[in-house]
Structures are given as structure tokens and as C-alpha cells.
Point group: C2
Chain length 313, copies 2
Amino acid sequence: MKIALDAMGGDYAPQAAVAGALLAAEQLAGRASIVLIGQADAVQPLLQAAGPAAAALEFVPASQVIDMGEHPAKAFQQKQDSSIAVGYRMLHAGEVDAFCSAGNTGAMLVGAMFTVKPVAGVMRPAIANFLPKLNSEFGILLDVGANAECKPEMLEQFAELGSLYAQYVLGIAQPKVGLMNLGEEEGKGTPNTQAAYQLLKVNPHVNFVGNLEGRDLFDDKADVIVCDGFTGNVILKMAESIYDIMNHKGMMDPFIAKFNYEAVGGSPILGINDNAIIGHGSSTPLAICNMLVQGFQMADSGIVDQIKATFKS
Amino acid sequence: MKIALDAMGGDYAPQAAVAGALLAAEQLAGRASIVLIGQADAVQPLLQAAGPAAAALEFVPASQVIDMGEHPAKAFQQKQDSSIAVGYRMLHAGEVDAFCSAGNTGAMLVGAMFTVKPVAGVMRPAIANFLPKLNSEFGILLDVGANAECKPEMLEQFAELGSLYAQYVLGIAQPKVGLMNLGEEEGKGTPNTQAAYQLLKVNPHVNFVGNLEGRDLFDDKADVIVCDGFTGNVILKMAESIYDIMNHKGMMDPFIAKFNYEAVGGSPILGINDNAIIGHGSSTPLAICNMLVQGFQMADSGIVDQIKATFKS
């Protein structure tokens, strides 16, 4: 199996990318190899400096880079030899099994939509993220930013996508799905969440447990938490700031430590025909390594085939 | 000055209400007196048990109680002698200067809308809450639940209402106002937040600092954070759960301690013709006391007159 990494993506690229790829190659030895995609001038000196360990990494040149501040769609179209465009082409051609990047999030989404494309039947793919749980490992939160506004049918599909990820990648049997809302009672919320509630209540693919409130993010009520990308993005970034504050204060314990994005890997794009993961902009080597391991786990689980099968029906 | 309290509101009423009223009467002695509204059978034995301290409290009987689970509008209309209905009638008649209740939030909102009514020019009143700040005392977040969906013009008005509260009640000169969004750049977000951004940019009553992300809630970027009631409610309840978790773990410091709702008082309803505050359902005597002190501060500040003056123009 081959897991590709955008060597030019992220605030500390290419150094952190190469260092993270080396860590992952060691962890995944015998199960998957890592393919680094990037500018030869930037990456090859780092590989030479790494010595014999670099032999485990495959290098694929890409002459261009999409910067963090660039307009996603424009940059993706114009820079066809960028590391992100080359990564998606290899993914789509089946030359690699997953593609990971800590680069421009918008360009990663554009590439997903235009190269590997949404699974037939999926209205809009979602970006998922992970929530530390007090009494278990992690829950899934989606969408966290791909779709600021969501129709009820989109929220319903996110519930299905999140359930499949929880089941096949995280190994949670019959994952409980909750709908983020401003009150527990049926009938609470916006017209969209009210309608989504009615769809989820009767959806046979989803173990729906009802509405959740902001206080239920870390408890046992649900393994999969569904919301629009606006709400999910606010939750995700608020959680990150809580971690930063606690870390700065030196107030750390195993639960708080799970808020550290470095520990979780990246944010998978769910509902597309291949395995793509978006990493945090300020990814460290550890974060890059965990994102690549997560890419392997996704590919190994066959999650995309499960999604295709579910949405075919 | 007279500050009224719904003696029947909250999970621990009437005991916590009476105990909180006694604490507040002591703190506000010489500046304001407390008026307790509730069922004589329930409240008077508690006043007798309190001994001479109870002499500072005025008691007004109300034969009915609106329970936490009741339908707000229906209950408010049918129970005209409930403590909430009596409280709002006294507030509207000018017999008290503020009315506070830890009871049914929806009924408190209904009473605000139908008895004291929105200020002329205010489209929809908002419920405000307080965010602990790392480098200052508190910021204001609104709306936190009165309006699940908000038109751009409503978000603009929340910015004005929050600015006035920050200025006149919290004493923050030229409060900075931020718009909660999923990215910092102008143009990010939903059609509603995009349009609200354009309105706020040119609003002369507001010191607008632009979009905020979930990670900016506790930093210095803004004193007033504007969002729809869905997002605000999720943020508020997530913050409460963070406090509960930290408290349970014994991980406490002065910043985390400010997340405790007991320390802040309640949630003022802004944009109505009088001072009304909604308390947390599980209010302790300390929370009740701080809500009453906050009611005094609101009345003392003349915030409602400032709001009326701003929205008249």
C-alpha cells in the first residue's frame, strides 16, 4: 500500500513533512510505504540529509506549490504541476491509496471535488474531525467547514458518512449519532435541524440518539456528532484554543492531551471516491506522521467502498 | 431601587432563591432592596426561618408557577398569576427596576416580548452571556439562544446592543466587536454573515474589528462577539461543559474559575424596554445573588435608556 504526502504543505514544510514522513515510514514498515510529492530542490537535500532512512521514501517531483493564501479553485486549476494537483492525480489513477496534505485546505477540497469527485449519491462531501471523549477514545464531528450552510438531506448524509467512518476506521460498533442543536427536545432548532431530525429518526443506516447540546460534545451520548460546517468549525477551533490555553498553563492530563491535533492526525474528507486527509496548517512532524498513519488506516479499512455501497442503494 | 426575583424559578427553588436573595440584600444594602415573588406557602416559611435578615426582603404573592418543562407561550398566557407573569407586570408598571428568574427560559422570553416589549426599532431582542477573557475580565457573546437563525440586520443590531452593554454596564470604552465566523477573511461564511460583515463595516455605532474564529473567543480581539442564537448556544454550553470537566478534575485556576456561571450572574435579555435577566436552571444561592447584583448594575447604568436613544435615531 502507498500513502502519499504533499511535502510542500503546511507552515513548516518541507522540513516537518519530510521528518513526519520518516517517522511514518518506520511505523508503517512492511504495511505501507510513503510517497513524498514536492519540489526536487526543496525536498531532495532533506532526503540526502536523512541518510539511509530516506531509502524507505519514494519521491515524486512536482514543480509548483499552492501557497496557503492563494485562491483555492484558481490556484488548483492554474498550477497543474503543484504537489496537491499531482497528489490527487496519482490518487485518482490508483498509484497511491491515500493522499495527505497540511497545505491549502480549500485547494485540497477543490482537488477532491474535481479530481477524485464525490461518491455517486453524495450531495456534498464533508470534512470530519475528532472530539476527545471523557470515557472513550474519540468521537467524530462533521462537517467542520466544507459546507457553511447545510440542507437537512446533507446533514442526514453526514450522519451516514460519520457512522461508516466510526464503524470501519475507528472500530465502533453501531455508533450512536447525535444532531447538534440548541436543545434536546424534538422540535428544537432551525428549520434545517428540525427537518434533519425527522430524516434521521427514520434512517435505517443510522443509530440516531436525537439532539445534542454543546455540553454533550465530550460525553457518551454520541460517537458521531452531525452539524453544519459553520457550527463544526467554531466547535473545532474553540476546542483547539482550549487545548492551547491549558497547555500554556501547564494544566495537562490524559483527557486534555487528546485535544492536541498532533495526536489525532488530520481531517478526512468523507464522501469522495478516494482517501484524502487535510492536515492542520501548523502540522509538526508528529502531526504529519499521525496523518499518514490515519491515511493508511482509512485505506486499509476499505471505508470508501463501504461508502460507495451505502450510497448506491 | 428595587430588584425583583422569581422565588419559584430554578431547579433548587424556592430554597436557593431565598438564600440568594438574602445574600444580595446584604450586598446591595442602602442601594437597592430585593422583592421576592412566589407562592406564599412555599416562600414565607423560608423567610420566617431566616429570622431578622428576612426583614430586608419584600414579598409579593403569586399563586401559580410555570414549570421548567411547560410550553412557554401557553403557560405564560394561561398562568397570569405565575411568579414570572407577576414579575413582568411589576417591571412594566415601574414597581421594580429589574426582574430576574432562573425559571423557564422560554417563558421569560415570552414575557419580555409581550409585557415589556422590544424597544422601538429593535427587530428581535437577544440573550447575552459572558465569556471569560484571558487578559481582561469578561467579553459578551450574543445571541445565545433567543433566535436560532438571524438575518444580517439582526446580527448588526446585536452588535449595537452588545456594545452598549459592554460600555454602560461593564465599563469598557469603545468595545471591540467581532463577528463569529469560520474564517477571518472578509467574504468568509454564510450569506448571512457575509452580509452582516458589510453592514457592520460601515455602522457608526460599532467599533467593528472583523470576523472572529472559534479560537478567538477568549483572547483580546473583541469585547463583544456577535453570532446567531444557534452558534451562541453551542459555544455557551460547550464552555459550561469545559468548566464542569475541569472542576471535576480539580484543574482550576483564576481563568477557568471565570467559566463558572455562578460567578457571572445571569443572561440579560437585551433590546427590551426594561431590565430582565434569565438565570441558569441549576442556579445556586451564589448564582442567584450575582444575578440580582447584575440586575442592580443594569438598572443603575441606565442601559435601557441608552438602547432606546440609539435605536430611536
